[in-house]
Amino acid sequence: MSAPATRAPAAARKPATMAQALNRAMRDAMAADPTVHVLGEDVGTLGGVFRVTDGLAKEFGEDRCTDTPLAEAGILGAAVGMAMYGLRPVVEMQFDAFAYPSFEQLVSHVSRMRNRTHGALPMPITVRVPYGGGIGGVEHHSDSSEAYYMATPGLHVVTPATVADAYGLLRAAIASDDPVVFMEPKRLYWGKADWSPDSPEQVPGIGRAVVRRPGRSATLITYGPSVPVCLAAAEAAREEGWELEVVDLRSLVPFDEETVVSSVRRTGRAVIVHESPGFGGPGGEVAARVSERCFHYLEAPVLRVAGFDIPYPPPMLERHHLPGVERVLDAVARLQWESDWTAAADGGGTEGGGN
């Protein structure tokens, strides 16, 4: 993988969508490494239902970008065999909920083959999963399925929220010798940002969170489709006098505890925001780790703003389900702003205080 420049000249940067960045990442990966093969439903001639694989079959041939029969277990199972023979498959699952038939292959083989064989059979497989709601999709087209994957040791679970991350993280996922479930927030597919396809900016690798917006009042911990929501909430919160820090996890597994913990220790308050149902969702794990490591720094309980614990609603009702700016601000308002004991203790030294 070539090392892209940190920052392209302004002239080379132009508006690009996340879908275009993802497409470019696969194209560059395929050009750089002949063992990279893309396979999935409609990924060839059509270029994918979201056009994320557009042009790959034409440029690299159908042996490199292959339309498969409509069978997700077969697709991922075939990818396992391809990886066993030294290829680096990139699998597209058409939609979040359509990936479920491949679950057994993922859990019983992809995630544990390296471990099972003492490292003899690594699984350098990238499973791209367009996920999440907010696109007006009918049933089975809007699930946030990341918690299932997070609960499976042996997988990496990665999700970009920006155009630059989409490129950088997908390149890193394809280059990784571990299986990566690459969750693409489809509601951000068409979001644009200035970006240079010919010299994409370098982004931190898999397993590193980033502070998207610095602040000192409270930390919003989020990822994927909820990152723009949290950034908007942070902007709106300024009117209330709150300076909210926004941490974009970027990778749910591996989990970047250090970035999260250092932010919460600074702010003393934390809200976790995601679309996935709250019960048994990623936020519970994050909250537990924050509580374990930031207990003496917390002014308030760690709160979660999540999707309701319901099957994903029909499109005409989904706005009631999705965590939005108002719900985030409501949670921030409940962070016991009257409490200032850690701030008060600051004068006498806070480290490990609160006894």
């Binding site: 277990a73 292959q105 083989h109």
Partner: protein, 407 residues
């Protein structure tokens, strides 16, 4: 002119997208399982091959007996026996070239052993010291697969990758009758046929999926008939006739090698033992049925053929038995040693690069083990100190503590 003004014409042409059907006849299996042993056709068989098959069958039977015995002695956690199915497994192993790949299920350890793998390494899964004990890339045998039929798409993908690289590699995947009901069986066969993958699917139809007989598993004319729906040939063979299985598989492998695509082979055989040592087969089948199959034993069939052709005498039988005994004795001796367990391996190779969280957990376990070891050592020293002191009341407690710590 309207459509109604052209009577008949509307119905004359087929739907626009329709194309003439492929003729299914060449894909259909024979009405009866293919046989070689005891038939006139057997005269054309290579004596060296028959002799080799016989020796491997005898070794395979002895291996099954030894593994079953080791299970009763607590040396294996579980053993799914392939007694009675040796012909299919041995033929599957012998039909492959070194560069080809074998995809076994958990009941196919014999196929791996017959391919030349170290039986102790093969039995790692069933002994329980690790999940897979051999190197699949070095041996070209995929890890023993437990979730039914899920190894079949792996065989398809691997053979696909090999062909993309221009390598002459055939994958042979083993599955049971129960496994043919799984979705992965369907998906793998469909992929293989659409992509004309050099893969051979061998169904060992041993009559039962644990307790459920084939009649409750499938309403197909035969399992081999399922091939037709995918557009590949189905072959039906007597699974206890090693020569016939070898011949049918060899044809299928050659067909795959020359670009002819996949074949589904159904070997009709019988699981003479229970599903595993933990199963009680008397709850779901009669002894008469088992006895009928014992009379159709793969070793006996081969022995009769060899003797009738003057290729085997009592000395040859003794020689084959001695070879099998050597395998069993070696296996017994090595399996009676406690395996070396490395708890650190639990964390090694979960990921290429260990996560922070796993590193913490590995350290925690290492600390626990160090404490355990220290307690063990302390108890041992304590025990040694009090040794011979009949009147020391602490002795019993100390010795008991030591025993507890070492278990």
């Amino acid at each position: 002119m309207t459509v109604l003004e052209q009577p008949g014409a509307y119905h004359l042409s087929p739907p626009p997208g329709w194309r003439p059907q492929l003729d299914p006849a060449p894909l259909l299996p024979d009405a009866e399982p293919h046989r070689m042993l005891g038939t006139d056709a057997a005269a054309g068989l290579d004596p060296a091959l028959l002799t080799r098959l016989y020796r491997e069958l005898v070794r395979g039977r002895r291996y099954n007996e030894q593994a079953t015995a080791l299970t009763k002695q607590g040396r294996l956690a579980v053993y799914p026996s392939s007694t009675g199915q040796e012909a299919a497994q041995v033929a599957a192993a012998l039909v492959l070239e070194e560069r080809d790949w074998l995809f076994p299920s958990y009941r196919d350890t014999l196929a791996a052993v017959a391919r030349g793998l170290d039986p102790v390494e093969v039995l790692s899964l069933l002994r329980g010291d690790w999940h897979s004990g051999y190197d699949p890339r070095a041996t070209r045998v995929a890890p023993l697969c437990t979730p039914l039929a899920t190894q079949l798409p792996h065989a398809v993908g691997l053979a696909h990758a090999a062909r993309l690289k221009g390598d002459d590699v055939v994958a042979l995947a083993l599955v049971g009758d129960g496994g043919t009901s799984e979705g992965d069986f369907h998906e793998a066969l469909n992929f293989a046929a659409v992509w004309r993958i050099p893969v051979v699917f061998l169904v060992q139809n041993n009559g039962f999926a644990i307790s459920v007989p084939l009649a409750k598993q499938s309403a197909a004319p035969s399992l081999a008939h399922k091939a037709v729906g995918y557009g590949m040939p189905g072959r039906l063979v007597d699974g206890n006739d090693a020569a016939a299985v070898h011949q049918v598989l060899q044809e299928a492998v050659r067909r795959a090698r020359r670009g002819g695509g996949p074949t589904l082979v159904e070997a009709v055989t019988y699981r003479v033992e229970a599903h595993t040592n933990a199963d009680d087969a008397t709850r779901y089948r009669t002894d008469d049925e088992v006895q009928a199959w014992r009379a159709h034993d793969p070793i006996a069939l081969m022995e009769r053929e060899l003797r009738s052709r003057g290729l085997l005498d009592d000395a040859g039988v003794r020689e084959a038995a001695a070879g099998a005994e050597e395998l069993a004795a070696g296996l017994r001796a090595r399996m009676n040693q406690d395996p070396e367990l490395r708890p650190d391996d639990l964390f090694a190779q979960v990921y290429a690069e260990e996560t922070v969280q796993l590193a913490e957990q590995r350290t925690r376990l290492a600390e626990e083990l160090a404490e355990e070891l220290a307690a063990d050592e302390a108890a041992r020293q304590d025990g040694a100190q009090h040794d011979g002191d009949q009147h020391d009341g602490a002795r019993t407690e100390g010795a008991h503590g030591a025993e507890g710590a070492t278990r």
